[in-house]
């Protein structure tokens, strides 16, 4: 059952993004920024947690989870350590995405040649 929920949720979000790209002048670059920001807004209203609980990986693989994890770890840092904690812990949860993207991209860029 959770597989179906994951399919429906991630599919539905991609469908909304495709509608935005097709019907407005926004490019995929705009839409990815918009959706990651939207993840933070949904986390602000405590909605994204519910999505993760219900759809599990369906909500985690999306770019919206980037905004959500930034918000969550930042807020947790603030609650435990005040203003310093907000600055120190903001990237805590999204560190995995950023670090792995940098490392993998760098390794594969060094190995392979650009294709024309």
């Amino acid at each position: 059952m959770s597989i179906l929920y994951a399919f429906l949720f991630s599919g539905f979000v991609c469908l909304i993004a495709e509608m935005i790209i097709n019907h407005t002048k926004l490019t995929p670059g705009h839409v990815t920024s918009l959706f990651s920001l939207l993840g933070a807004v949904l986390a602000f209203f405590n909605v994204y947690n519910l999505f993760i609980k219900k759809c599990e990986m369906g909500a985690i693989v999306l770019i919206s989870n980037f905004g959500n994890s930034l918000y969550e770890s930042g807020l947790r840092g603030f609650n435990s350590n005040g203003f310093i904690g907000l600055f120190a812990n903001m990237l805590e949860k999204s560190s995995l995405v950023l670090t792995s993207t940098i490392i993998f991209s760098f390794i594969f860029t060094c190995i392979f040649k650009p294709k024309d």
Binding site: S10, C14, E56, I60, F66, T101, F106
Partner: protein, 145 residues
């Protein structure tokens, strides 16, 4: 005259069909990424002792690694043309934008090319989500105080 009208009608339907096709393709491909990750998640939880947070990390790592590899090989651009938003909105889109810009600017040198253009496209995602969540956290703190 009739021919022009006919052509207009045909074009209208062609465009409509293309929209529908794009919608369907991005819904199914985006959904499949979520569903496959969920299947891998369930398998890992059932057959290994790895904690659920680590399994989530492993799957994200896997998605990013595969995307970076396929982008460097030049395969992923064609896939994105075919599956559209289904591959842009998941984390794969983020990894693809970083790898494609870094491999495009590789010829300009390690510092002025690859290094300075590494987050060429993904920079906006990082910038606006960090600034946005910072403002939202401040707002939340003010509201709850």
């Amino acid at each position: 005259m009739n021919q022009i009208v006919y052509k207009d009608i045909v074009d209208k339907y062609k465009k409509k069909n293309k929209w529908l096709h794009n919608y369907l393709v991005s819904f199914i491909s985006g959904g499949l990424i979520g569903a496959f990750s969920q299947i891998i998640y369930i398998v890992f939880i059932k057959f290994t002792n790895i904690s659920s947070t680590n399994v989530k990390g492993i799957i994200t790592l896997l998605l990013i690694g595969v995307t970076a590899l396929l982008t460097a090989l030049g395969i992923f651009d064609n896939l994105i043309k075919k599956f559209r938003s289904g591959l842009i909105i998941p984390t794969t889109g983020f990894a693809h934008s970083v790898t494609s810009s870094s491999i495009d600017f590789k010829k300009d040198g390690l510092i002025t090319g690859l290094g300075s253009n590494f987050f060429h496209l993904a920079g906006s995602v990082i910038l606006y989500s960090v600034v946005g969540s910072f403002i939202l956290i401040i707002l939340k703190v003010i509201i709850s105080a």
